[in-house]
Symmetry: C2
């Protein structure tokens, strides 16, 4: 099922600097997209750039976004070329020199024409993928969308044809002559901590925290 | 010193839907920008949108970005209108219905013409602000940029004239008839955890973790 074509190497997806940070295999792209929670959608509206954060989901080689069918940016995006960027910030890199301070991260930049999805089966599958991406297990647990709710929802698909993945990992890299400086250098890991779950104050008191929520909570990092 | 003008209300910074999520005071904008770590810079290149993650800093009513002077996107951005978005994801909102699943977040979207900064004093102040934004206290601790390093650095300024701030907080909001459903609902807080610090393997063994690094580590959330 996996599409193992390498990522495209168009001019804009080819790293011109710091090439060692570029990855071109498709599995790296999937990993970044699957690990992210939100993306930043870039659209050109009246010739000017607009960047909006939003949730997303992936089915195979397509990225799905959704929103209110009244959402102006989604409306503007439909049928046009968009840029979808997912960034995982993983560390603050403290070098001995200001110039070499950096961040550890994994990022994916996807370019493609956003297709307004009209097929109801694909629309529902997309909403399921977006829901499951945000909160795995949620689709089976909660009330599914009604026809009216789906009518109020716009779904866009962006193909994973043209994309680039960029990664920086590891320790700071200083200039040779700076390693003797009296400056602390190292890494501050950055992680996204989820939980602990806070029940809705209006929750029926007989309803316990379900396993799919507990599973997400266990993503809590670093606690001794 | 604080500029207390309200944020602009141009058409594109006025929320057309979910107006209750919009804030128009300038201090809310500063708060979001100061709390974020990275931004997503949107630029139009050859008529198409490009969205790139990058660090930033704020001095008063200007946002500063920097990068290699060979960076194509920064070059393309200079003198053009850009969009800079900072998103703080603060919670996964689990509603009883898929349709009302949501995220808690604070986001700032800034529109403006990116000015290539050429004054050396302003360039240095900008690099200091970007460094201090990422790792407060780092500027005083580490080796400052040389003239050569500054020459290899491009700095852009984006004025905080036109911006919108959007916030969602609190519990899920379900349809009245769904509150009786047998579905767990609530909030999964999302926090950005920093640390514990990992010294560079090449660090001189007599150099201890300095207070400005320890201070960042204390941002660790949720640990008992």
């Amino acid at each position: 099922m996996n599409d193992l074509r390498p990522l495209s190497s168009t001019d804009r997806t080819t790293l011109h600097r710091l090439r060692e940070r570029g990855l071109t295999d498709r599995s790296a792209l999937h990993e970044v997209l699957d690990a992210g929670i939100i993306c930043h959608l870039g659209v050109v509206i009246d010739g000017l750039p607009v960047v909006l954060p939003t949730g997303y989901g992936r089915i195979g080689e397509a990225l799905y976004l959704h929103g209110s069918s009244a959402n102006r940016s989604l409306q503007a995006a439909a049928g046009t070329e968009v840029c979808v960027t997912v960034t995982l910030l993983e560390g603050l890199v403290c070098a001995r020199s200001v110039f070499h301070n950096s961040m550890n991260y994994r990022s994916a930049v996807v370019y493609g024409t956003a297709r307004l999805v009209t097929d109801e089966d694909e629309r529902l599958a997309a909403v399921e993928a977006i829901t499951e991406h945000l909160i795995p297990g949620r689709w089976a647990h909660s009330r599914r969308p009604t026809r009216k709710e789906m009518a109020a929802t716009a779904v866009l698909a962006v193909p994973l044809d043209e994309a680039s993945v960029k990664v920086r990992t590891g320790a700071p890299k200083d200039d040779e002559e700076d390693y003797d400086l009296d400056v602390w250098a190292g890494l501050l890991p950055v992680t996204t901590a989820i939980g602990p779950a806070e029940p809705d104050p209006l929750l029926r008191p007989d309803i316990a925290v379900p396993p799919h929520i507990t599973a997400l909570e266990t993503a809590l990092p670093h606690c001794p």
